[in-house]
């Protein structure tokens, strides 16, 4: 009996030790959400901001708006991204949705189609400030008929992070500006002795992988821009072929197929990759993470001909959910939240790019980096909007993984992807960009 007791106590103690760090892993917010003292009508807002900078920002912004007016009280709730997506899908059937919901821009089209978001064209259609929004992010809030369901809140894209010390060591003076120069740089900066790869990117089997792979598939080669609508075109496989060569020659880790974007960024910061594909949001922490170990710079992604570049637009939208308690007031909140002034403030506080041309954020850190990301936005491709984007997306990362892991030729892998993507686009084409 005593023995049994001892064993039970010991195992419970061990389990407690093991599980503690899991429970302790909370996003630390320094200021809390102020309570609803005025007794205003409460509107729930679900978001998945989990980086410390934007997790704090959303609370600050809601506090500010709640103090500003008496009509409604915005109550932000954090739900993990994956869980939030599940909740929207389930909510499409059960009707249990928040009043305002955050969504990753390429997913919005699917949720609009599923009926998760409410048509607010009446409220936002003749808002005169809407012309100041960049067309790419704004288009992701609309359906095929041009009806609007919400507003974009922040945007980002991908650039190349360069370890300048590694580049110098390899005898290269200039940051690569074309795919050929990039290939050479990756080759020369790979150093097995320092266990450093030339390049790191994320090719994971989720939307993140597609996000990072797209610039290498849709790029300008020999003066012509390739397109998702024809993946069997002559140069469509050029970029993926180069990336496949990196993996085959030990210049990029095959583990990229399991890496999230955070992982490939961490590889760069740890000096394990001389070049890496990183996102705008990484600028908020890159200085601390590199911690003076080497010089770094941000450059346009060299995905094709010299002087050209391509990238992918990312970002989050906020939509008014179906069954919102007070649509008028919820739209008013979005109009304030996405006003030029608040946009600029958000961009600097959370390390994002604004989604409207008249917002002028003054970054007091990584100014050059942000400038580069702002320039890259001109070459960045929006994903969709397309209700069947997830299926298209799956084909893209699957094609890349076939090349990286099975050594299949890029042309064959993309032809197989094309066999699935082409009929989808034939039925519902992607919008012109």
């Amino acid at each position: 009996m005593k023995r049994k007791l001892v064993s039970v106590i010991m195992s419970m103690a061990m389990v407690a030790c093991v599980s503690l760090p899991v429970f302790a892993d909370d996003a630390a917010a320094t200021t809390e959400l102020a309570p609803n003292d005025k007794g205003a009508e409460e509107l729930t807002l679900w978001h998945y901001f989990d980086a410390s900078a934007d997790a704090q920002a959303i609370i600050d912004f809601c506090n500010e708006y709640n103090a500003l007016q008496d009509a409604v009280y915005i109550n932000p709730t954090y739900v993990s991204r994956q869980e939030l997506m599940n909740q929207y899908t389930i909510g499409a059937v059960s009707g249990e949705l928040p009043d305002i919901g955050m969504v990753d821009s390429p997913d919005m089209a699917s949720y609009i189609s599923l009926g998760v978001f409410e048509d607010v064209t009446d409220q936002l259609g003749d808002w005169d400030e809407i012309k100041n929004f960049y067309p790419g992010p704004l288009s992701s809030c609309k359906d095929a008929d041009g009806k609007i369901y919400g507003l974009p809140q922040n945007s980002n894209c991908l650039c190349l992070a360069v370890n300048m010390d590694a580049l110098k060591e390899a005898g290269i003076d200039e940051i690569p500006a074309s795919l050929d120069a990039f290939k050479e740089a990756v080759e020369k900066t790979t150093d097995a002795d320092q266990s450093r790869y030339g390049f790191a990117m994320s090719a994971i089997s989720t939307e993140e992988g597609t996000f990072q792979l797209l610039p290498w598939i849709v790029a300008t080669h020999n003066g012509t821009k390739t397109s998702l609508s024809d993946l069997t075109a002559a140069d469509a496989a050029t970029g993926l072929d180069v990336l496949g060569g990196f993996v085959a020659n030990g210049q990029m880790s095959p583990e990229c197929v399991n890496w999230t974007q955070a992982d490939d960024y961490n590889q760069f910061c740890a000096g394990k990759a001389a070049l890496a594909e990183i996102g705008t949001w990484h600028l908020a922490s890159i200085k601390d993470d590199v911690n003076g170990a080497f010089e770094y710079q941000v450059a346009l992604l060299p995905t094709g001909d010299e002087g050209t570049s391509s990238s992918t637009i990312g970002g989050e939208n906020f939509g008014i959910c179906t069954g919102c308690k007070n649509t008028e007031e919820a739209v008013k909140f979005l109009q304030w939240f996405m006003s030029a002034e608040e946009e600029a403030k958000w961009a600097t506080q959370a390390g994002k790019l604004p989604i409207r041309s008249d917002a002028e954020p003054v970054y007091d850190y990584e100014e050059d980096g942000f400038k580069m990301f702002q320039e890259e936005m001109n070459y960045a491709l929006a994903r969709g909007p397309h209700a069947e984007w997830p299926t298209i997306s799956e084909q893209i990362y699957t094609a890349a993984q076939k090349v990286f892991l099975n050594g299949e030729s890029a042309a064959d892998a993309l032809a197989e992807a094309n066999a699935v993507i082409a009929p989808i686009l034939e039925a519902n084409p992607l919008p012109e960009q």
């Binding site: 023995r3 195992s11 093991v18 599923l114 994971i204 095959p254 799956e394």
Partner: protein, 303 residues
């Protein structure tokens, strides 16, 4: 008074006949609402063409067995079905044999056997998400497993970046969780074997090996069957381990029916196809369940 007594008597007759139904009623209602309804709903959904385009419009139509037909013609689905069986049998074989050996070992009453047995349960008590993350780190290119292997001159193996080895890694992690569970149930099975049978047999001159095969195994038949059955169900419907550890990748090599059904429904919004996969999963488990019932009933008859 007499009338009341008579009524009571008559009432008693009615109650006698029906009181059995009253007892099973709560169970039946519960089963119909909580188990039956979702299954029927899912079955109906699997015969429709509900997807992202028509869910909100409500324009989905019945398409009969079309989803199932398409699934069984889809090489990805066939690969996933195969993966599910490989994962299940791979896990069952190792976690059962190792679990059984450990059960036999820890059933011996040596010093600290109890506390150590308790500690062995930690992997089982850990949330699967933690196990998945742990597996992800252990099987990295420069992770602990490859480091250990390099000491004996093997590797480094690509583990989670190769379609050939990813499943092995996932099976190993699942065994890590399953072994203590098997051990625990088998120890309780062992304790049901009466000591005096061993005493009697050793007086008759039976060797330890004879004792194991002629006494321990046959007397534990029910426990072993239950362990294998539970193990099969738990393993066959696995989801969280691969969802966290590999996300079904690389290239679907660790995708199983559970994860595939989820991906179809919640990532691709092909709800009816996702339901059809879930139905296939359900049917497989149903067959195993019926087999188990037949074995149990047969066993009872033999006795």
């Amino acid at each position: 008074m007499a009338a009341v007594a008579k009524q009571k008597h008559r009432g008693k007759g009615i109650r006698r006949e029906n009181e059995g139904y009253a007892f099973i009623l709560p169970g039946v209602i519960y089963m119909i609402l909580v188990v039956g309804y979702p299954i029927v709903y899912n079955l109906i959904l699997s015969f429709k063409d509900t997807n992202v385009q028509n869910l909100a419009k409500g324009t989905s139509v019945f398409i009969g067995l079309q989803n199932y037909k398409e699934l069984f013609q889809n090489p990805t689905f066939l690969l996933i079905l195969k993966n599910t069986f490989i994962f299940t049998f791979g896990s069952l074989v190792f976690q059962f044999t190792i679990g059984y050996l450990l059960a036999l070992f820890f059933y011996k009453k040596f010093t600290l056997a109890g506390p150590i047995r308790g500690l062995m349960l930690i992997p089982y008590m850990m949330p699967m998400a933690v196990t998945g993350l742990l597996g992800q780190n252990l099987f990295l290119q420069d992770g602990l497993i490859n480091k250990l292997l390099s000491w004996i001159g093997v590797g480094p193996l690509p583990w989670l970046t190769s379609t050939a080895t990813a499943m092995v890694a996932v099976v190993i992690m699942n065994c890590w969780v399953g072994i203590p569970f098997n051990m625990l149930l088998l120890i309780s099975g062992l304790s049901n074997v009466p000591e005096d049978v061993y005493e009697a047999s050793s007086i008759d001159g039976a060797s330890k090996i004879q004792q194991f095969f002629r006494i321990t195994l046959p007397l534990m038949k029910d426990a072993i069957l239950a362990v294998l059955m539970l193990g099969f169900i738990y393993t066959f419907r696995a989801f969280d381990l691969m969802f966290i550890m590999t996300a079904g990748g690389p290239l679907n090599s660790t995708d199983v029916l559970g994860t595939y059904s989820y991906t179809l429904s919640f990532t691709q919004y092909q709800f009816s196809k996702g339901s059809a996969v879930a139905m296939v999963l359900f049917m497989c488990l149903m067959v195993i369940g019926i087999l188990y019932l037949i074995l149990i009933v047969k066993g009872e008859k033999d006795e």
